[in-house]
């Protein structure tokens, strides 16, 4: 935990530090507060209050004129600081707390002891989650906790809170919006209820409307890289574009709603299927791959045939990370020995000496898509068979 991190963790903690000191308003008054006041960054800022006496926060987290990740700061200043390892450990501690909280909620999602044990074991040792959170250093456990809690609220019939939590997830990571249609179809009892839940669940849209219509510089859903990832795979039809993700997502949603059984399992199965379609048809950052792990934990407990498929997914994912070359290879461990890891060749560079690495990586990327779509098929068939 204290030996690895990507520059992203420093960037998000930098923004949290700006919240803590109030510098966000002084130095970045032209930026929208929505860039700073996200749930994860607020949680991190609160945690920094506790770390104030344990770490030289200004030396570790402050640079001028940018709120984004600075590779130069990460590799030349942060990792060479005497307290870098201590900082990395403490910065990941809130993620561990949310990780454990997610395990507790997952525990209560199951009635059968055997299923519960399998799901918890999977949750604890899943390499994707460990990589995304404790090696890469992203705050994914926080939105994941909210998603799982939302699922628990849906199960215990606290429907308003379920949508509220889903809305909070969408505020943090837009993928929360993907689940909304089926949540509404299953949990809403009439039009009025569905409308009110829709407003709560899509509160991020209201935020975006405010940001989009104001003079400050912000980033709405349509301007976010996530939106571009969704539309990355497209078919050209005499100059018109058909977006593959949108097409498959609409198909999936309509199928789920059309065959809706109003069962709790329909919620998590749809969430898992939607994310699998996303991984199959969109470009995504490696940390995004952690999003589906809680749903997969539930699925694997119930459908053991998914285990082997997931193992194959993990193997393909390892190759997928090669796309990012050194920042996702040796640089992750740069704090251990900068002189060694900054110069260490990435797997892609080594492959390049013999064969174009992009081809090899793309083959594994394609296999990953194939496996993900096959898993969607298994989930869809499991609904037909009940």
């Amino acid at each position: 935990m204290p030996f690895a991190a990507h520059g992203d963790i420093i960037a998000t903690y930098h923004r949290s530090y700006l919240i803590l000191t109030g510098d966000w308003h002084v130095s970045f008054h032209y930026l929208s507060p929505s860039l700073f006041f996200t749930i994860c960054q607020i949680v991190q800022a609160l945690f920094l209050v506790l770390c104030n006496h344990l770490l030289p926060l200004r030396d570790l987290l402050y640079w001028k004129d940018s709120v984004l990740a600075s590779a130069a700061f990460w590799l030349n200043i942060f990792i060479r600081n005497q307290y870098a390892h201590r900082a990395l450990f403490l910065f990941k501690l809130p993620y561990l707390i949310f990780d454990l909280a997610t395990a507790v909620v997952l525990f209560y999602l199951f009635e059968r002891k055997e299923e519960r044990t399998i799901a918890l074991k999977f949750w604890m040792i899943n390499p994707i989650g460990i990589f995304a959170v404790y090696v890469f250093g992203r705050y994914e456990t926080i939105p994941i906790f909210l998603v799982v809690l939302s699922l628990y609220c849906a199960k215990t019939n606290k429907r308003f809170f379920s949508f509220l939590l889903l809305g909070m997830v969408a505020m943090e990571q837009y993928y929360g919006l993907m689940f909304l249609p089926v949540y509404l179809a299953i949990l809403g009892r009439n039009f009025r209820e569905r409308l009110s839940f829709l407003i709560v669940g899509s509160i991020v849209v209201i935020r975006d409307l405010v940001v989009g219509s104001s003079v400050v510089v912000g980033r709405t859903f349509l301007e976010s890289p996530f939106f571009n990832y969704l539309l990355a795979m497209r078919l050209d039809v005499t100059g018109q574009q058909i977006y593959v993700f949108v097409l498959t997502y609409v198909l999936l949603t309509l199928y789920w709603i059309h065959t809706c059984g109003k069962e709790f399992s329909d919620l998590w199965k749809f969430a898992l299927a939607a994310l699998l379609v996303f991984y199959a048809t969109c470009s995504f950052h490696p940390n995004y791959f952690a999003w589906f792990t809680p749903f997969l934990a539930i699925a694997i407990a119930k459908y053991p045939e998914l285990r082997k498929l997931h193992l194959l997914q993990v193997l393909c994912f390892v190759f997928y990370t090669f796309y990012w070359k050194r920042p996702l290879a040796g640089w992750l461990f740069a704090s251990v020995d900068p002189s060694f890891f900054l110069k260490l060749l990435s797997p892609a560079e080594l492959i390049d000496f013999f064969y174009p690495s992009s081809t090899i990586i793309s083959v594994f990327r394609t296999i990953l898509s194939g496996i993900s779509l096959y898993m969607v098929l298994i989930l869809a068939r499991s609904r037909e068979g009940r």
């Binding site: 005497q82 307290y83 390892h85 251990v336 020995d337 060694f340 110069k343 260490l344 390049d352 000496f353």
Partner: protein, 214 residues
């Protein structure tokens, strides 16, 4: 159960020993500026570069090649020289130009030169059987972007440098040597961290042992 735990500890120790003895390639010199390919490498026209190794364990040199978008068929000789007059061949490799891809690095790897640090080396490429129209070239920069040597054509220095990288081999155990002083620089944290890890592992072992005996 105790035997199993003992076996696990022994196998973990052996695995760590093996892992830390693995040698990996680490970049040493990176000269990645280039604006055009140097002349074609054919006949008596060789192309090379002088450089000074910064690390021990020199074991590879990669050159950024141009194939002019065609398949070139003749063999290519790579030689590395050292010594006072740079006339002693210490590495000689032959490859076919077919295996070189356009606008990509090609790596020439050889046995590790253990005491390479601070020494001057000269590598060059020649292809006596190639002809104009069936020859590859290497990218270079006409500006003197690499201060510790220069490019050579026909064993004569020219202004500018080839686009090249050098690699040395380092054992993963080197990382431990460098991590040690870092650990000492924050004793309070690492003391707490390693003791906590030990306690957690011991509690886990105890839990597993008691569960098995039940």
């Amino acid at each position: 159960m105790r035997r199993r735990i003992l076996a696990m500890i022994i196998s973990a120790t052996i695995s760590l020993g093996i892992v830390f003895n693995i040698n990996v390639y680490v970049e040493d010199i990176v000269q990645d500026h280039s604006e055009k390919p140097i002349e074609g490498i054919y006949g008596t026209r060789s192309v090379g570069q002088i450089f000074v190794a910064h690390e021990d364990g020199l074991s590879g040199i990669a050159v950024f090649f141009a194939t002019y978008g065609r398949v070139n068929t003749e063999s290519m000789i790579f030689k590395l020289r050292s010594g006072a007059e740079l006339e002693t061949d210490i590495v000689s490799l032959v490859i076919n130009a077919r295996s070189i891809r356009d606008n990509q690095y090609y790596g020439f790897f050889f046995d590790e030169i253990r005491d390479s640090k601070g020494k001057i080396y000269y590598f060059f490429l020649q292809s006596p059987n190639s002809t104009e129209g069936n020859a590859i070239s290497a990218w270079y920069s006409s500006a003197d972007v690499y201060g510790e040597g220069s490019a050579y054509v026909g064993h004569k220095p020219i202004a500018g440098d080839l686009c090249f990288k050098t690699y040395c081999r380092r054992a993963l155990s080197d990382v431990l040597k460098n991590l040690y002083p870092r650990i000492l620089s924050d004793k309070v944290f690492f003391g707490t961290y390693f003791s906590s890890i030990t306690v957690i592992v011991l509690l886990l072992v105890r839990y597993m042992t008691s569960r098995r005996s039940h």
